[in-house]
Structure formats: structure tokens, C-alpha cells
């Protein structure tokens, strides 16, 4: 048996990463302009039209209050779609053969695809933040933690998206989780309101929604106020990360839906 060696196919990881980023650049309108326009529309509707008639939430103007939620919403959606598409498409058109026959480990494949999807999401998050600052005054109380939260969430949802792309057998399944699970959870997760504004029963119910912890934690980084304990938010983010890693690890170990 050959001796244990620490090997890393850096060229391979870089090749996939570059390929995925190039894909985003090719579809710049779809990957960047669309989310920016969508977010701007949210600002026009919720920030200007409705927000002007609303009182401040937790001491923050409504327009500014929704910014972290909107960034998170875009981060969830884009990380999921980018990462799921990245691995689903080669499966769909058959080019996955090359990935499976290459001297690249599963860990490296995950690093490359998830890293590329997360990078794109982080860039998008920053662009939305800049766009938002054109509409409303934004303060960031904990910028470093905000950046950490941004990156971690992008990685988490990219991991989830990657899992989804591995699992999906067709386009319909690829859309299933984002449409039926993530979007409702995000809208009910306090992107546009503080869960303190809900009746007590709904508030208690909301605490079972993991997205509440992510949005609340991210908002805390901006304004120093949160719906739930900030440590709980970090713990949930970390737990989410570990759970996604475990699922991806299991999928690769069994070769599930990738290899016969």
C-alpha cells in the first residue's frame, strides 16, 4: 500500500472555480443585474411606498431595517440557484463524466463548486448593500462580524444548493426546494418585519424557522438589535454548516445519484 500523502489538486480546484466564475460573467445580466433590479424594486415598494407610512422598527427606519433581510434573501436565492445549477447542469448534459474520471477528490470538488458559488453570492451581497445605501442611510455596527456572517451564509446556502443539485433528477426538483421551502421560510423569517411584531403564538412558531436566526443575526451586525440572542444565531449558522457538510459527505461517500 502506498504511504499516506497529503495531496491537493490545486490546478483542478482552480479550473472548476474559474469555469464557474466565467459562467457567471457570461450571464452577467442574469447573475448580477437581475438581483440588483429585484432588490431595488423591493426598496421602491417596501422602503419608499410603504416604509414612509411606517414607524421605525427597533429604533431603525423601516427602509434601513429591511436592508439586511433583503441581502439575506438575495444571498439565499442566488447561492442556492448558482451552486445547484453548477453541479446539476454537467449531470444533465453529461459532461460530469470528466469530473468523475479526473484525479480530484470529492472534498476538492465541493471546495471548488461551493467556493465559486459563495464568492459570487458575496459579491452580489456587497453590490446590493451598495445599491441599498443609495436609497437609505445604513450603519454597520459590527462590520467584521457582518462580513463573517455574509461569507458563512453564502457558503451554507451554496452547500445546500450543491446538495440540491446532486440530488435533483430534473429541472422541477431543482426548483422544488427554493420555491417551496426557502422562499416561504425567508418571507416568514423576518426579512421584512421583526418577529416581535407578531402575535405571541406566531412568534413562538417562528422560532422553529432557522432563517429567523440568520436574518436576526445579520441584522444585529448592522444595527446592534436582534429578535433572538446573537449567540444563538451564530450557533444556528454553525449547526447549519455542519449539517450541510454531513449531507454532502454522505452523498459523495455513497456515490448517490452521481455514480452507479
Amino acid at each position: 500500500m502506498s504511504p499516506a500523502r497529503i495531496e491537493f489538486n490545486g490546478y483542478g480546484v482552480w479550473a472548476i472555480y474559474k469555469f464557474e466564475v466565467a459562467r457567471a460573467l457570461r450571464t452577467l445580466v442574469q447573475s448580477l443585474v437581475t438581483p440588483v433590479i429585484t432588490t431595488s424594486l423591493y426598496f421602491v415598494v417596501f422602503g419608499a411606498a410603504i416604509g414612509s407610512r411606517m414607524t421605525a422598527v427597533s429604533g431603525v427606519s423601516y427602509g434601513a431595517f429591511i436592508v439586511p433581510g433583503l441581502i439575506m434573501l438575495a444571498l439565499f436565492t442566488e447561492s442556492l440557484s448558482n451552486a445547484s445549477f453548477g453541479i446539476f447542469f454537467p449531470k444533465f448534459i453529461g459532461t460530469i463524466y470528466e469530473l468523475l474520471s479526473a484525479p480530484i477528490s470529492y472534498v476538492e470538488i465541493v471546495i471548488a463548486y461551493v467556493g465559486a458559488a459563495a464568492s459570487k453570492s458575496v459579491v452580489l451581497g456587497v453590490i446590493i448593500l451598495v445599491t441599498a445605501s443609495l436609497f437609505v442611510p445604513i450603519s454597520i455596527v459590527h462590520p467584521l462580524l457582518m462580513a463573517a456572517f455574509l461569507v458563512l451564509t453564502a457558503v451554507n446556502f451554496s452547500l445546500l444548493g450543491f446538495t440540491l443539485g446532486l440530488w435533483a433528477k430534473g429541472w422541477e426538483q431543482l426548483q422544488l426546494i427554493p420555491t417551496l421551502v426557502v422562499t416561504p421560510l425567508t418571507f416568514l423569517g423576518g426579512a421584512f418585519y421583526s418577529i416581535d411584531m407578531l402575535p405571541p403564538a406566531w412568534r413562538a412558531f417562528s422560532l422553529f424557522n432557522p432563517v429567523v436566526y440568520l436574518i436576526s443575526g445579520f441584522r444585529w451586525c448592522f444595527y446592534g438589535t436582534a429578535d433572538v440572542n446573537i449567540y444563538l444565531s451564530f450557533a444556528m449558522t454553525a449547526a447549519f454548516f455542519v449539517a450541510c457538510l454531513a449531507v454532502v459527505g454522505w452523498i459523495f461517500k455513497t456515490g448517490y445519484r452521481l455514480k452507479n
Partner: protein, 314 residues
């Protein structure tokens, strides 16, 4: 002198979860520098075997080494030696030729090498298409791109799964020239084809797979000698009512209402022919014409697959 083995397949089998048994346990050694043709009807297990060696399908049992590296335990070293051109034309349509070939090289762990890739594209007549998107290329050009991708990391072993299926004459000729060129550079080539004439022309050795079993592995020349039959047909000027007893040693048969004598000689041998002709002359049987037919690899293949069909396990 026999070349050392470069791929060693020991007791490799494959059953799918559905219960379908795609490969019976197979043992096979591929020699360094040879062109090995894997023949078999559709669904015989050729692609399954190739996909196991390349890492796309997981074997149910057995062991494969490529250039001494176990394909599972030491998959990095093994896979870096192997290039694969799959049967299906699957390409990233939106990428340029150069980008996709560079991607493949990187994916296989090789540092960028523009001069090598430029030379590769030139050898495959792809230089002019270097910056074209793959979607703009013809089917034949896409096939060349697939080959360029497989060769981008300078593998010592190349798998060509049905490389000439649906390919025009010119490309097929180019492809075989390329294969010959690669062999001269020491690359081992394993190909599957249903153009048996090509295997006959190109291959050093032939393996026949049928219903998941390796029915036979033989040097092509030896195979032709062993299984090739030579048929001699003598067209007579006047019909014979029966075969003269003097011709019995040649086991001739009367055909064409007595107007032809047919004699089958095993192993491509023709030692009996002059004697037969002399004997016929002594018997004053006038001959109008004669023709010989040597069985091709295709004939051998068809007879092997139909006669030696193994028992199917369920």
C-alpha cells in the same frame, strides 16, 4: 518480447442495484504501447468496463491498476495517466475550444502549458477553431474537441469509446492517423468499435465481450490464423453428378447444382490447394474459374458471439 502490462484487471465484476449483472468477473492485461480493440454487441459491457477503469462506475468486485496504481486507493496517480473519450458527444456548448481544453488540463492536475495545447489543437486540425464556441462547431469538430480534452493532460493511456460512430470518412481517417501517431509516441490505446474492419486494420490485440463476459482475448494475427477460414470455390465447366472418391481427403462439397466445388481450409492455410488442383487435373475435371474467400475479423466475431454465448446468470 512481450511488453509489460500497463492496465491490470483482476476479477472485476459489476452488478447494478436493479439486479442487472453487467459484467461477469473479468481478468485482462493491457500491454504497454499496444492498441487493444474491445469488440462486442451493444449492451455487452464494453462501456461498463471502460467506465470502471476510468472511475465513472464503481466495480462490484475485483481490482484494477493503471501503470501500477490502484484505481481506487491511489486514484490520483491512476487517473492522471488515463484519458477518456466517451461515446456520447457531451461538451460545454458555451465555452471556447481553448477554454475547455485548458479546463481539462487543469482538472487533471496539470500546470498550464500553452505550447503543448497549441500543438495538440494543431494535430487535431482545431487551430482555426481555437477561439470558437463549441456550439458553433460541427459534430466532427466536436468529436475532435473531445479527443483534445482527453489528451490535454498528456496521458499514457487513452480510452476511445466508439470513436468513429457517426463520423465522416475524412475525420475517421484523421482519427486513425492520430491513433497511429499516439502509439508511436508510446501511448497505449484501448478502443471499442463496431467498425470491425478498423479493429482488423489497427489493433494489435482483440478482446471480445459478450453478455458481460470476456469471451476471448487474442493477438489479432493469431486470431485470424486460428479462427480465420479460407474457402476455395472452384467453378466447373461441366456439372458433376457426385464427388469423386479421390477428392475425399479435401472434404469438398458440391454446390451450384454440381457446377461448383467448395473446399474449406482452416487457419488460413493453403497447403492443400496445389495438391487438390493437381488431383483435379489428373481426374480431367476442367475448371472454368476459381475464387478464394478469407474470413474477416467480422466473420470471426459474429461466429464467436453466436456460438460461444455464455450462460446468463440470473
Amino acid at each position: 518480447m512481450r511488453a509489460p502490462s500497463i492496465i491490470s484487471i483482476e476479477n472485476v465484476s459489476k452488478s447494478y442495484a436493479s439486479g442487472v449483472r453487467a459484467l461477469e468477473p473479468i481478468d485482462l492485461e493491457i500491454r504497454k504501447g499496444e492498441i487493444f480493440a474491445l469488440l462486442g454487441p451493444n449492451g455487452a459491457g464494453k462501456t461498463t468496463l471502460i467506465n470502471i477503469i476510468c472511475g465513472i462506475v464503481t466495480a462490484s468486485g475485483g481490482r484494477v491498476t493503471a501503470d501500477g496504481h490502484d484505481i481506487v486507493r491511489d486514484f490520483r496517480a491512476a487517473r492522471m495517466k488515463i484519458g477518456l473519450v466517451p461515446q456520447e458527444l457531451t461538451t460545454d456548448s458555451f465555452e471556447t475550444v481553448w477554454a475547455t481544453v485548458s479546463f481539462s488540463r487543469g482538472l487533471f492536475g496539470r500546470a498550464p502549458n500553452a505550447p503543448y495545447l497549441t500543438g495538440l489543437l494543431r494535430d487535431l486540425s482545431l487551430s482555426a477553431k481555437r477561439d470558437s464556441r463549441i456550439m458553433e462547431l460541427s459534430g466532427g469538430m466536436k468529436r475532435r474537441v473531445m479527443i483534445a480534452k482527453a489528451l490535454s493532460h498528456e496521458p499514457g493511456i487513452l480510452f476511445l469509446d466508439e470513436p468513429t460512430a457517426g463520423v465522416d470518412v475524412e475525420l475517421r481517417r484523421d482519427m486513425w492517423n492520430l491513433v497511429r501517431g499516439l502509439r508511436e509516441r508510446g501511448v497505449t490505446i484501448i478502443l471499442t468499435t463496431h467498425y470491425i474492419a478498423e479493429a482488423e486494420e489497427m489493433a494489435d490485440r482483440v478482446g471480445v465481450i459478450n453478455k458481460g463476459s470476456l469471451v476471448l482475448v487474442e493477438e489479432k494475427a493469431a486470431l485470424m490464423r486460428k479462427f480465420g477460414k479460407k474457402k476455395l470455390t472452384l467453378h466447373l465447366q461441366t456439372p458433376l453428378a457426385h464427388i469423386p472418391v479421390e477428392l475425399a481427403p479435401w472434404r469438398v462439397e458440391l454446390k451450384d447444382r454440381g457446377l461448383a466445388l467448395e473446399c474449406t481450409l482452416d487457419g488460413g492455410s493453403n497447403v492443400g490447394i496445389p495438391l487438390l488442383l493437381r488431383k483435379m487435373s489428373e481426374l480431367s475435371i476442367p475448371i472454368k474459374d476459381l475464387e478464394t474467400h478469407q474470413s474477416s475479423l467480422e466473420d470471426i466475431f459474429v461466429s464467436l458471439v453466436s456460438e460461444r454465448a455464455p450462460r446468463v446468470r440470473t
